[in-house]
Symmetry: C2
């Protein structure tokens, strides 16, 4: 049962403590050469993954992660009540075709890179609200499909600025259940869209940092918790510049979490020798780091509880061309 | 309180009967010349709506519908717990920028033209699950932005096939509340993605018809109701060809609802003199017909209860180019 949420609060509380009973992280070659290599369940060296296009490879990677998450939970597709998924491609086609092939009642989401956490938050409400016993959540991204759609064709070999982040190739999926063994989720804080006027699409971490800060502060206010309550605050894909900005903004608001603030985009690549500039980004970034590294850290007891903060930049190439700024959003889930 | 949903069912039941306390439909010029003209709350003659691009006009139309739905419900934005929205544009930018300007915690959705019903279904679960008192749901589409993104630039003046449907210019928004006066929603059936191999993007109604049929049949099975239980079955945007196909498919499955099956895409334009070929389509189609005409029919007592079936075609221009077929989805809500 949910606790009544007061007017103005953005945080919901899951009385029944839904459990992450399985998770799968499938990553690309470069991700598999990084510091988190050992935490992925599979590393795919071929960017085409035996398919004819990068887009089909991305879709297949998501489908494999979803199917494996079901198997790992000792379930069949027919046991799952709902599938929640989305991705970065126009019309979230990776998720749509995966839903077709997996055959579970499907709710499509778009939260840009915050999609895994948006899905986890909604899944928590569907289970805690007694509408589902099992919900499958997943998302994926692919370096080459994102470059093609959002930036420049990979074949151009365009020089990138130092703030640019590299879209992670990878897919993450998990099964959230009413009961079982695994890390539990207890709260979710749904973010508002925040836009401080950033217009540089090569510095998206900085565009998303204010949204992450607002969501973390609102979460602590809503729950009445002190900032030292959590072992870690893990943002999705702010990257090196965005993480620093978020840390500074928190300090200005009187909360120093700089020691505890980590970012999936910083964790996934080695800063010194992987040449990924600002770090990782994309739906797959928070997904593979959460479904691989972070949930393992919780299972191993290295992290007792953390606030995962999925971050998303909500522009499109067309809105940027039409002079719009980059709005950001962040959804937080307590794991 | 939700009733426990059995394994394999796709229908959730809202014990608390959430109420649609306000709704707003804003439509474009051609829609305003059609048979439902009197049911729209506003008709906008200028396709640019005083903005510099069609995309900005679409976004502004959605924002106006959302803001007016809040006002009509005698609420302020801070009273609304969540906003659920999506649209057809890449990265759902109309919804994102609307969420930025409205300032309500935001969950972005992508269900193509089924978005209003996807949002209504999730909103029902969030309220019935005790996570929210008020949820704002809305979506929009625009003829010219959809042509530009999905088909041919309007300036080309390309000849259209007779099965082509015309994307509706319009925005619909509604506020779903825990209590109040207005039509209530009692059940939602979440669709699976269905794909029978249709590849003609100029015949999307036929691609979506099988999904609508599956969802209606599953709904009747899950609820144990006979097909004559409802006064009407209203699909989102199958159009003339898709509606006929759906009706035939239902008959083959032993259920004749041909007299009761209507489609928002057929209702919105006059077949004889508006030259819209297969009828209307787009997120805005189901949205303005539901938020205008249908809810008025319920309020006037002309319809006692109907099953609204939002239908979506889940391809993208890129997936079509890469040889994929068109998967369809349908979510049903009892109003």
């Amino acid at each position: 049962m949910a606790a009544p949420k007061k007017n103005g609060q953005q945080t919901v509380w899951f009385g029944s403590q839904p459990v992450i009973v399985s998770s799968v992280a499938i990553a690309g070659k470069k991700e598999g050469e990084g510091p988190l290599a050992e935490t992925f369940h599979k590393v795919v060296d071929d960017p085409y993954y035996n398919e004819k296009s990068w887009e089909k490879a991305e879709q297949y990677m998501l489908e494999e992660a979803m199917q494996n998450a079901i198997v790992k939970a000792n379930l069949k597709a027919k046991d799952i009540d709902f599938m929640l998924a989305g991705d970065l491609l126009n019309q979230i086609v990776s998720a749509n075709y995966t839903a077709r092939n997996v055959g579970i009642p499907f709710l499509g989401l778009y939260g840009a890179c915050s999609t895994l956490y948006e899905g986890l938050a909604i899944a928590g409400m569907l289970i805690d609200g007694d509408f589902a016993d099992y919900v499958l959540v997943g998302t994926a991204s692919h370096y080459s499909t994102a470059e093609r759609q959002y930036r420049n064709p990979v074949e151009h070999g365009s020089q990138k600025t130092m703030t640019t982040q590299r879209t992670v190739t990878g897919a993450g999926a998990l099964v959230l259940a009413r009961s079982g063994v695994g890390p539990v989720i207890t709260h979710a804080t749904i973010g508002k869209v925040v836009d401080l006027g950033e217009t540089d699409v090569n510095n998206m971490g900085s565009a998303m940092a204010p949204a992450a800060v607002e969501t973390i502060i609102k979460h602590l206010e809503d729950t009445g918790r002190q900032s030292d309550y959590y072992d870690a605050y893990i943002t999705g894909d702010l990257g090196r510049y965005g993480r620093k900005l978020a840390s500074n903004m928190m300090q200005k608001r009187g909360l120093d979490i700089s020691e505890k603030l980590e970012d999936c985009g910083c964790l996934i690549f080695n800063e010194d020798d992987q040449d990924t500039h600002g770090g990782g980004s994309g739906c797959g970034c928070a997904a593979v780091v959460t479904c691989g590294h972070l949930l393992k850290e919780v299972e191993n007891g290295n992290i007792k509880r953390f606030l995962g903060v999925g971050t998303g930049a909500l522009m499109s190439p067309l809105s940027t061309q039409q002079g719009e700024t980059i709005p950001g959003i962040a959804h937080a889930v307590v794991i």
